[in-house]
Symmetry: C2
Subunit: 340 residues, 2 copies
DNA sequence: TTGAAAGCGATACCAA
DNA sequence: TTGGTATCGCTTTCAA
């Protein structure tokens, strides 16, 4: 009874041959039994002997050997970027991962910090993923896509603010967020609107489209849009607040709730009345925004259900070669509170 | 010049045999050249021919075949839990990953949502990782550890609030946070201290040790510690605030800054003076806490540098079999502001 | 119902 | 300096 050996055997890793030997059958039979191969009939007693031998040895099949033999993997590779995903995005990724696992894919995340786009694509290609789902912020070049394709990836999919040429795209179109926030401010009668642009690297792929979304709706009514670079620290916010009145703005869309809170506090400390003198709206609808006074108006984002997307990935893998598809995942909705 | 073929060849994936054929050499030579094998001398002209053939075909080696042949991988597997890591933790993981990649490991993250501990361990074992680093919140049983060991993992390491029997441990001892926060409150003369316990599942592994850390230092001076269950929503916070005075507490350690902000707002709305009647301290030292009035006192956490830990993992892989090691990663420090 | 054997792609030994 | 070849673990066809 050494179920929990103090010093787990350093011996060789058991293979299907070991299982076969112990069960007194051939390796073929072991494979048939453990994979429940329906094209071949094996006696119940043999099945039992094989199963017992396998569990006695603690046998675990060798994924590399299996996929080498099969000629393909069922690996879906998700590169990870270098900045933390928000809770919304994070939950979405996890659910997508579960959905894919339910379809019998092995989902694997692979960081690429410190690798350039093509090195990274090569590193991914070595794993021979059947699909690659690259979130926004992960560089994916046409060359990289070609490398992945040549190495057997049936589907290369981007997941983020904007599509990449030659890949399928699950788009979280951030312009929606900008136009939603700005539309709300316009409705409140504001016409000179600042848009906070975080200076933190890595946020640009989100911030730029939000700005252009804002511009689009503002143009319709001839309102002014003024980009406002801001670092996420009190000093930067203080400096912006200090010159606020010279800007002559009557509203600001602050990129997200965190930046909004930072800026709103700085504006209040500079004696600017919110929302009377300047309206503020964030995005993400964090609980914390509701705790401020005035309560922070925000934009709530919702992502599409992930199971249908897992099914979509599966379809792209099974019927590759179509033209790149684009699917919009993001819906945005203004949540008016007291700050606007 | 079809560097960017519109329809990337659906043909078979090029192998080293294809490279050999194109270069007019044997597969062995290809391997020698591409791996810069120093034990064999190859003429410069042959090297060039091989390299050109490889890049012309877009050849990428097949990781599975390589590791099958080698008898081992250089895969470090990091299971991911189901709740988003904070920015601190997130950055740490990314740096650890980069550090390991610098040591020529392939780091791969693998979600386990919806799998039980032993299923998950089996799934990981199929990849034959040379090391597994399991963050807190990822279930890891002694059986799971045994499965991984038997399948060739040289090092099984936990990374989180508490060690797991039989594995090496990189410990982020959350008791430090609790005792640091509580020590600060005691120093301020408070003696009846509430400790917020989030009801959200998944936070218990962090919350429990923070509580026991609080208890430890409170016991030294005979102070009272009162656990306070709280959900992360306004309703729950309001209910707690409504019965606050019946609790007779003069301070609260609110698990972290987010819970602290939630509770502090509810207390203020209930007419409780902060810090006069009740002192509040959070943890994480978020920027946002500095924006509240009164400014939120907090506990700042610092993690050990990650490169030495990457080196440690490398050492454990190369010299396996020692007794499980424990390393403390977390240091905590009180940041007094206005709320305490 | 079971077994023998080929072969997936890469590497490293041994020969030439 | 280079090439032939056995080998890793597994699946699957073909034979028995």
């Amino acid at each position: 009874m050494s179920q929990l050996p103090k010093q787990p055997a350093e011996g060789p890793v058991p293979t299907s041959a070991d299982v076969a030997r112990l069960a007194g059958v051939s390796r073929a039979t072991v494979s048939y039994v453990l994979n429940n191969n329906p094209t071949v009939r094996i006696s119940e007693s043999t099945r039992r002997r094989v199963r017992e031998a396998a569990s006695e040895l603690g046998y675990v099949p060798h994924a590399a050997a299996r996929s080498l033999r099969a000629g393909h993997t069922r690996t879906v590779l998700m590169p990870t970027g270098d900045h933390p995903a928000g809770p919304l995005h994070h939950r979405f990724l996890h659910e997508l991962e579960s959905g894919l696992r339910r379809l019998d894919y092995t989902v694997v995340q692979h960081g690429s910090l410190g690798l350039d786009a093509d090195e990274a694509a090569r590193a991914w290609a070595e794993l021979r993923p059947v699909a690659v789902i690259a979130p926004g912020g992960v560089a994916l070049t046409p060359q990289g896509i070609a490398v992945l394709r040549r190495s057997g990836a049936k589907a290369v999919i981007t997941l983020g603010p904007q599509p990449v040429d030659g890949a399928h795209a699950l788009v979280m179109d951030q312009r929606e967020v900008g136009s939603c926030a700005t539309g709300h401010l316009l409705q409140r009668g504001r016409r000179r609107i600042g848009v906070v642009m975080p200076e933190e690297p890595g946020l640009a792929p989100f911030a730029e489209p939000r700005l252009s979304g804002a511009r689009r709706v503002a143009a319709d009514v001839g309102a002014l849009i003024e980009p406002l670079p801001l670092r996420y620290d009190e000093e930067s916010a203080g400096a912006l607040a200090a010159r606020w009145r010279t800007l002559g703005l009557d509203a600001v869309f602050a990129y997200n709730d965190a930046y909004a809170m930072l800026l709103m506090r700085a504006l209040q400390d500079a004696g600017i009345e919110i929302p009377a003198e300047t309206a503020v709206v964030g995005a993400d609808d964090l609980l914390i925004g509701r705790l401020l006074r005035p309560r922070l108006s925000s934009v709530r984002m919702e992502l599409a259900a992930s199971q249908p997307l897992a099914d979509l990935v599966d379809r792209l893998v099974r019927h590759p070669g179509g033209v790149p598809e684009r699917h919009d995942l993001l819906r945005a909705r203004a949540i008016p509170r007291e700050s606007s």
